[in-house]
Symmetry: C2
Subunit: 587 residues, 2 copies
């Protein structure tokens, strides 16, 4: 994508570094590679794990959110109910000459300058017309295209070999939570609000993904479904965050062609109705904090509201959290959808299992109940042997509706039968209602782990004195410290290995390296973002002190070996700064 | 499976408890459930996570083993090379009447008392004969069976929608490591030995799995591939464990019908050749320790060697680590296979990518190299226009072989051409060999996380005073402590919530419970295995002390709130016992 003579962009640099140092690379390279699949090496796996840990710290532990694990494969029924079988599809065209397939919306974007958001509105016929009008030909062979068709972007399989039971790889982890709602609700002893999260692989069978970690066929999703009573305002964390701000791009502005960011407090966003659910606003703010913790400054983030035709089929309101990256501009890293009762309601309809919860009133509510009582002595003569049938239908009719029809027309029609006021007795009585049943509403923050990994890498990347450094925030760095003997002789390696083992036993992620000059080892460590370098030198053999080097400033301090575990624990929990780790030391 | 009047067995009890308290349950219950799929609720997820953490402590951190993450879906080629497409299959029969399908080996076991190990030896024809001979009919409808067929127990899909690129769900995580060997070897800077582990979902499309966590279609596998040079003895941890013992059931004894366990030291097992690779013996010992740490005593474990026809297609030698469980007797929890160079060699053949590593000799080795040089002046007259072809074939022939034939027969045959000694010149020269290329060997410990969860539950289960307690080892308990106000009034809940929050902030997994009598809350906590119960009572308001209750002994001690974090950290790191947590306290 980049010119040979141009400086490669950050995407290229990050991918090259990631491959060379083993953060991640395209899977199955020895078989030519398969696009949309990546393998994380040790460093990438650790980075991803640290990011997920950070998210758990911010989102899960504090709010008592439950983490669960459900399967990746689900029976067809689940995704019929969720609407994915009906909606999770994209328009595709096939070249009549070379038979290659392309996503029609991508072609329209590239060759007709129709934005993805515009393209999403088009029907298949309109897509075909647009392709014809713009004379779009196959980018590979100049052939013409056949009729556009929809393809389902789920991986399909069968459950049980040679069976006809269709199953799909899940495109989101959310359904594994919704279908188990009854059990989960029991687990929290039937109290709202509560949240359930799951982190796991998900699958989307894209036609030809080509954007590294940004668009994958198999990726890690983090779905958090938060269940609450929409009629109750009990968003307890709101007061702690209501004066912090969110950078919003609102749909109404987008419709007028303006993509400007408005910086509003959580409080104002709710008051003005920019964000429709309190919990959603809170989670959006936490998402902003998460990205800051991963190294993406607030001013490189925005929350863009989806237009009606851009939203997923289940969402009442939806914001994408986007981060600015060099190659593509704004890229989504999380979605914040107000799914209302859409999913639970659909599963209730498809399964016949009651998904409603019972909410007791503080005290029973009294209300008048109207009842329509069929008078058999009148119905008998009027409807003969159909009387019993009419009586049964009447008992199932809505009494209010019956009364209204009597008032308006003087009769009420049930199939071909005309019921008159004298056929029934209308009674009224006071009833006590103990509580009511309703389907909880859901707001969902949903993150793509792989995209978080990518933006953390891009924002960590910098160059100092012509050398690459990954300046990760200290608590997400894949390796926390390197231990180095200054030279590999005179007992220094043995001493360094002791230090290394002590730190491993204390639970730190540490690497030991004795190959090459100390400068080269520091450079290697900087390139993979190791925050601290601990060097054992000849002084160490005399007084048991070591130097500690800071990855970013390249400054050094000197400390006692025996104090290292405590100092490092404090440093990585942000309870000490680098300068607190020892006495300044000049090389 | 159990009689109505009989006490339910532990499998039944554990499954009921697991479902009721939210450890795990069959997935998709609202759609009738799908066998072979489970969902882990919060407690089960935490338990599984603790078990995996324990395994990392024992296996990964100490040996510098690298953890990676690769996709679940792989292109067909990967599993053709690995031999799974050819070998990963089971015999199946279909009832001609009701069309239900059964695994033939399971029928033979149930109705013909042919053991699984015997059944594995049978060809399809022999399976058919055995079914006929034992007059086995459909267990559901008494119908007769059609011809046995093999079915592939992998989930099949296509990569790319409407594409013909077949992909499979991985039945093991190992291949995701082997195919990336070259990159991984670079990551460790080209040094042997090294190990790579991955924990992730795997898929096996069983016909009708019916054993809860023991046999799943989607499960979590932990595959550790350890690469080493088979000609070098550098198993550094061996000396630390060589005098510890392993309970082995050897294949040669099994062949003679004896399933006796021999308890031998690691050292003796290697000396006697019971275990063929040093690293394998070390990992087997670690696996034994892991299970002890999960609560399964050594005497309830054994390592049973697989017979030649029971072994996976890739294994030179293979042991199953088995744990005794109440319902099924011995059940596999891990496999220890010496995969040799099987996988890397296959991928080298299928991909054409060199999987060999280069090992430099300590000093270059001199050896004599024989060469056969065709003499064109002699070949020309002898073979006319075929001379060039003969010369070419000669240059590709093994010089040693040519020489040997000359010596034995006086000539060497190449296709129809008879080459005589005078046609060539045989030269000898000294060459220096810098090192050699070879494919590393692999030993693989492979665990099923779900089975580890099950055996941990079964071994934790006990009954005291008629109440169920899960006596998990303290460091694998899903919840570490419960915090309870003695009564929910007079400011006790507020005080208890402070204690709760302090412990959460310190990183503990804690639950807060104020519902019901304190006795009932203790009982609820015991049933899910919470090791410590911390109760805030009226004394607390006076002197800031709380009681701490031990799950297993039900004894209590009293401690200062401010000391709790440190005391608990020590307790959960096994650096303090319960009695060290405070002053004895009688209720």
């Amino acid at each position: 994508m980049t010119d040979e003579n141009k400086t490669p962009d950050k995407f290229t640099i990050i991918n090259e570094l990631a491959r060379r140092r083993g953060f991640f690379w395209q899977s199955y390279e020895i078989y030519g590679g398969v696009s949309g699949f990546v393998t994380y090496g040790f460093l990438g796996f650790k980075l991803k794990q640290s990011i997920e840990k950070k998210l758990r710290q911010l989102f899960v532990n504090k709010f008592g959110i439950l983490e669960i694990e459900s399967p990746i494969i689900a029976p067809s029924k689940v995704f019929e109910a969720s609407g994915h079988v009906g909606h999770f599809k994209e328009p595709m065209v096939e070249c009549l000459k070379c038979k290659r397939r392309f996503r029609a919306d991508h072609l329209l974007q590239e060759f007709a300058e129709i934005s993805p958001s515009e393209a999403e509105k088009l029907s298949l016929e309109e897509v075909e017309t647009a392709i014809d009008e713009h004379k779009i030909r196959c980018p590979e062979c100049e052939g013409t295209f056949g009729e556009p068709k929809y393809f389902l972007t789920m991986f399909k399989t069968t459950i049980g070999p040679y069976s006809e039971a269709v199953g799909y790889g899940r495109p989101e982890a959310a359904q594994g939570i919704f279908v188990e709602f009854r059990r989960l609700y029991e687990m929290v002893r039937e109290k709202l609000p509560f949240g359930v999260m799951q982190i796991g692989h998900a699958l989307r069978n894209e036609i030809s993904p080509r954007q590294g970690l940004i668009r994958l066929r198999e990726f890690t999703i983090i779905d958090l479904e938060f269940f609450f009573n929409p009629e109750e305002s009990n968003c307890f964390p709101l007061k702690d965050v209501e004066n912090e701000t969110l950078p919003l791009v609102l749909a109404e502005k987008k419709l007028r062609g303006l993509e400007e960011i408005v910086e509003v407090t959580v409080k104002k966003a709710l008051e003005k109705g920019y964000i429709k659910a309190e919990w959603q606003a809170v989670f959006m703010l936490l998402a902003k904090k998460l990205l800051v913790a991963l190294g993406v400054p607030a001013e490189k983030q925005r929350f863009i509201e989806k237009l009606p035709w851009e939203k997923a089929h289940y969402a009442l309101q939806s914001f994408d959290q986007e981060v600015y990256v060099e190659r593509w501009g704004w890229v989504e890293v999380s979605g914040h959808a107000y799914r209302t009762d859409y999913d639970l309601k659909s599963h209730m309809q498809f399964s016949g299992v009651d998904m409603r919860v019972f909410k007791e009133h503080e005290k029973p509510v009294e209300r008048m109940q109207t009842a329509v009582k069929p008078l058999m002595t009148k119905l008998g003569p009027a409807f003969k042997k159909k009387a019993a049938k009419v009586a049964e239908m009447l008992s199932e009719a809505d009494p209010g509706e019956v009364e209204a029809h009597f008032k308006k027309n003087g009769y009420y029609t049930l199939e071909e039968y005309k019921v008159l006021p004298e056929h029934v007795e209308i009674t009224r009585q006071k009833v006590k209602e103990r509580g009511k049943r309703f389907i909880p509403h859901v707001v969902e923050p949903s993150f793509g782990s792989d995209r978080l990994v990518y933006v953390a890498l891009e924002y960590a990347y910098r160059v100092k004195d012509g050398r690459a450094i990954l300046s990760f925030p200290r608590d997400i760095a894949p390796i926390q410290a390197g231990v180095y003997p200054l030279v590999s002789k005179d007992g220094l390696p043995e001493k360094a290995l002791q230090v290394y083992k002590t730190l491993i036993d204390e639970g730190f992620t540490v690497e030991y390296d004795e190959a090459g000059s100390i400068g080269r080892r520091y450079a290697r460590a900087d390139e993979i973002g190791v925050p601290l370098g601990i060097t054992v030198d000849y002084e160490t053999l005399k007084d048991n002190t070591v130097t500690i080097r800071d990855r970013d400033s390249w400054r050094q301090v000197r400390s006692q070996i025996k104090n290292l575990p405590e100092l490092l624990h404090k440093y990585f929990r942000w309870k000490a700064d680098f300068k607190d780790l020892g006495k300044p030391f000049e090389v």
